[in-house]
Symmetry: C2
Subunit: 321 residues, 2 copies
DNA sequence: TGCCCAGTTTGACTTTTGTCGAGAGCCGTG
DNA sequence: CACGGCTCTCGACAAAAGTCAAACTGGGCA
């Protein structure tokens, strides 16, 4: 009878089922199809964002700890993923929470900047689908040349796909071999335009990277372990959108940074809502740096990290007084 | 063991089930409660807006007819409820659609003006629950003195309850017996403030009333059938937020209108999004008046009414050319 | 034309979910 | 302190939803 199940039918089935509260067999008889087909359509409707099921993340901000952190670090909002007892995998828990928080922060018509990394990719991976056609997702930094699992463009596109949004990729390498070339490329109209468009974003999503041999920058060959160690001794404290920052959250004045094509930190700071998600406890120092540099307004972390941040803030205040 | 099931538990159950995709029995064993309890918590979570299930209403704007209407009447968006074949009750269908559309239009932080009537109340009644604490719902017009089924304050409060929002009621009668008293009451600071706050709304929801003996204004005793007929012969074309408007959508200069306490039409027009919902085919003329008066930017109607509006618009254009 | 393929549909089966009445803890009251 | 009234909880059953292999469909291709 029909070969294209026609988006139309999926819509109708979803409407009758979710908005009218009919049972699947009732929907089936209304539409003259079998109940099994209805079940399939409904799955598709959920997968494409025609229906949207979201759960409030309030539970995780209601926490006293979260409130204290907001105060201590002057952040707009903090979500804390529990890490106690029998939670299977705390880092997944953080990603799931972050995905929900992200969806809650997105508004229609938004322009969203997305960086890259394992964390961002995990978030994209567990994010549920939504239908936000007038949203644009832009890539905050250049691409990794080598084939690599969590490429910036993959992160951007996957999130855009989940949201049914438009994805704006950025076709330049993240790191070039000379400063001259990087400068020249940044001056290219296409690149220039994309970089200057970053500050017009309404929302940004990124994590922070650690300055060690496990960093993606080392794994993908942008830096050698030795260079990384060097940078560390020069004061490198973390990595944000491919750039090395110092403990105060400022761009570290180093050759590497001058070879990078990425959104300037000032542009990032111009974005009203900056959601930072950190999964690994080992990224304490980088996170502190990002917060110090005002690169974070909304934060999602695990309970353990939250406690460390709070202890640190308390110690700092005490010392100051 | 426990007497308060604690919102906390509902949250956790909802989180594990909807965000993590666990089965109810897995949630039950995580939380050490029976599966039956989990099922109950989940129902509560849906009922209180902790989880939100919404379906896209795009299907109803995608219609060619809807597009044509948007153009012909210069409206921002039109949704058309199908009325063909075996739909049980077209007016319920319109209310369900309107409720979804309304929820789709609400944004966090919004201030929403709500009028009254059977239609508005039906919408409130089928509206699903949401969790929008920073939303305020304000009543657009005074109350009916007599005990009556669809009172303005009921409409306002019910919608506020569904959204978990703050409801702002308006404790003045809709109609007073003398113009002097109405004028004096409007000058009262409390009332004055509420009325002037109307134009600060981001979204308004109302229907239109017909000028006949079936009008709520007659049923509740604010006007006699004879007075109504009189007004009709004076050019009354419809009722909006308790006020009589003429065919051009302007306030009719009549004694009755001067005795009414309600938001001025100019304030309504100052609201960016004005959602008008009409269920009855008999309200063709009042709806035309409302549209003519610029009181409508977003419209939800049945297919039949949509066709009539389009035919009328085409006829008018033809005559003009 | 006839065959194959990719995607859709279906009936039958299994798993998951909703619901109901009974039981149990809590509290104010007589 | 015994008593309903109240709400929460649980086990068991009934209802609904998910799944899978097999049948079917229409279109492209040799």
């Amino acid at each position: 009878m029909a070969i294209r199940p026609a988006e139309q039918l999926i819509h109708k089935a979803a409407w009758l089922y979710y908005a009218h509260g009919l049972r699947q067999d009732q929907v089936a008889s209304q539409l003259n199809i079998s109940r099994a087909s209805v079940a399939m359509y409904l799955r598709k409707a959920r997968e494409t964002g025609i229906v949207n099921i979201s759960t409030s993340t309030q539970l995780f901000t209601d926490d006293v700890l979260a409130r204290k952190l907001e105060d201590a670090l002057s952040l707009d909002a903090v979500w804390i993923a529990p890490e106690n007892d029998h939670i299977a995998d705390p880092s997944t828990e953080i990603a799931v929470l972050a995905a929900s928080v992200f969806l809650e922060l997105v508004k229609k018509g938004d322009r969203i900047g997305v960086a890259w990394g394992r964390t961002v990719y995990m978030i994209a991976d567990v994010m549920s689908y939504a239908d936000l056609q007038d949203v644009t997702v832009v890539q905050l930094c250049g691409n990794l040349g080598a084939p690599y699992s969590y490429r910036p463009d993959q992160c951007t596109m996957e999130i855009a796909r989940r949201l049914n949004a438009k994805g704006l990729n950025f076709y330049a390498p993240l790191v070039l071999s000379t400063e001259e070339l990087a400068r020249a490329l940044r001056a290219e109209p296409v690149i220039r335009e994309q970089l200057s468009g970053v500050s017009e974003c309404d929302l940004a999503l990124y994590s922070v990277g650690a300055v060690d041999a496990d960093s993606h920058l080392v794994k993908c060959g942008a830096l050698t372990p030795n260079e990384m160690a060097d940078l560390r001794s020069q004061g490198a404290a973390g990595v944000i959108a491919g750039q090395i920052i110092d403990a105060e959250g400022k761009v570290l004045g180093c050759g590497y940074n001058r070879r990078v094509i990425s959104a300037e930190l000032a542009s990032l700071r111009a974005i009203a809502r900056r959601l930072v998600v950190v999964q690994e406890d080992s990224k304490f120092e980088p996170l502190l740096a990002a917060i110090a540099g005002g690169l974070c307004t909304h934060l999602v972390v695990g309970a353990h990290m939250a406690q460390r941040l709070l202890d640190h803030a308390a110690a700092t205040t005490e010392k100051a007084s």
